[in-house]
Symmetry: C2
């Protein structure tokens, strides 16, 4: 069977940084995210007994080495569950540049998990898909369920998965992504996670996360945009403070990241309520209300460093297409 | 008597951020700095019984309100010790722009302390001058002694002062200051110190300082430039991580700060051993060996954002001129 699945990228409001258990791939803290409507990966998987090896094509190019191995390892997990021996033909397309701070591994592994498991004849539950996606790439588990999503830490592999807190149409919060860099990052987030605990501030960050997660869930529940935005912005800065004090220091910011953070603060000062968040890359995610999207978009057009703007609403999770 | 004193600004290799005792003005951690040869304040003080009030002229302009009050309060301390009633005429000149991250308050209060105490007929020891300068502005105590300086925390006002670790000619380390912004900063460092402990990372920073201070002293003693530079750069990032996670967040970085930090890392990668440090402002202090100063200066000429470069060697402390 040949199956195609489409999965959204997600933007974390409370960030995942560092693992509690490297072997079981359990995160050190719970995280909360929103699926993005306009940035996604579409992946087709077909198992074929005529194939000698798995083939993996991403954005029109056959990948190899470490990039391929990560996909093949994920196919192995699925073959093991499905008791399938056949090799697979994987073809994946992102509608956004990879390695620039938009989580391509999240949408990628979410789409791969659904497409490959269906193509292998499995009919997994949302929870099972989320657990499996997590094993490919931590934050991929959050691209499985719909809308606003929480990833609970868990104590075992089977209990560390994401679930939907609210459906996509629950709240019209937008994520306006200002793309400033399309260069691949020097240190992957996968590697970054493993050195997170080298920051002297890491333990303190982790010890405050439970409270932050419950604060954000409350703000979401009350649709309290101010509280929500404040927690989101503060957590992003907190994570980057940990990153830049780790050993070696991880600087994901570019000059444009600072420029845009100053812009966001000045717009907010002028009455356009918006907040920023930053993933492991230089792009700015500007979190705002739907009614302010066009004003912000116009303002971004005047910022020379911005190469492209992507306006996202909240979206459903992974689906077969 | 009319006395003129000249005091250098200083660059901290281990930063002072936050106070252990607000009332006694004791720092939360020990710090280490170097006096700068090319950035200084020259201050003339004359007590005059014809004056009804103190007058304070800084860079050609009579200052008032809070800016004046801080100087008048310092004169009061000195009048009290000297048992002088007369008002003073203070005239101060900086050879660099104020409020841009070069510590004008350090050189300013160091020069004021020596000029005013001499003009009031006092003949204070280096230690007494350092204690007194500290009361005007914490880091001013480090601009009193010569060369490479350590400020010990102390437990009482009288035991919190700076002393020279090594004379100015001990080691030919340079501080190449790349001026990128001449705008006054939004939050003064005086205010910043009082909110330092609102950062979740503040306690962790402080608890690691004793070890960092002794590590830097050892690197200085051994003239181990690599170890020295690594500690300097790491401590600056650590302090800014605390600043940006405080409440409200303090961002002293501009886009150019990030741009230059990336430049410094790339030069280092190419074999020019240099490290950066950043005070409470956007300017970059590039710490390098004397032999690399001209190469770095040439490279800085190609960085559009750099408005001005100041090449500093280590310098003597405050002097009557």
């Amino acid at each position: 069977m040949k199956i195609t699945a489409k999965a959204p990228a997600n933007i974390a409001f409370i960030k995942y940084w560092g693992k509690k258990d490297e072997k079981l791939r359990l995160p050190a803290n719970g995280s909360i995210s929103m699926n993005l409507s306009e940035v996604f990966t579409t992946t087709t998987v077909e198992f074929d007994n005529k194939l000698k090896n798995d083939t993996v094509k991403i954005d029109g190019r056959y990948v190899k080495d470490r990039e391929k191995l990560r996909v093949v390892n994920h196919l192995e997990r699925i073959r093991k569950i499905a008791k399938v021996k056949k090799r697979a033909r994987v073809e994946s397309k992102n509608n956004f540049p990879r390695g620039t701070g938009i989580a391509s591994s999240a949408s990628g592994f979410a789409a791969l998990t659904l497409a490959a498991s269906k193509a292998a004849g499995l009919n997994l539950s949302e929870k099972e898909l989320s657990v499996l996606a997590r094993m490919g790439s931590g934050s991929a588990c959050r691209s499985i369920p719909d809308g606003f999503v929480e990833w609970k830490i868990g104590n075992t592999s089977g209990s560390s998965y994401a679930h939907s807190l609210h459906p996509a149409n629950y709240w019209s919060v937008c994520d306006v992504v200002a793309i400033v860099g399309e260069k691949k990052k020097e240190v992957s987030s996968t590697r970054g996670h493993t050195i997170a605990n080298s920051s002297p501030f890491y333990k303190t960050r982790i010890s405050g996360m439970r409270e932050k997660v419950s604060g954000l869930k409350k703000a979401l529940k009350n649709k309290d945009f101010t509280k929500f935005g404040e927690i989101v912005e503060e957590d992003a800065i907190n994570m980057h403070a940990v990153m830049m004090t780790s050993s070696p220091p991880l600087f994901y910011w570019s000059p444009e990241t600072i420029e845009l953070s100053l812009e966001v603060k000045s717009w907010r000062h002028k009455g356009i309520e918006c907040y920023f968040t930053i993933d492991a890359g230089p792009n700015m995610h500007i979190i705002c209300k739907e009614r302010d999207v066009l004003r912000i978009n116009r303002k971004l057009k005047n910022v020379k460093a911005v190469r492209r703007v992507i306006i996202n609403k909240s979206a459903i999770g992974v689906r077969v297409v």
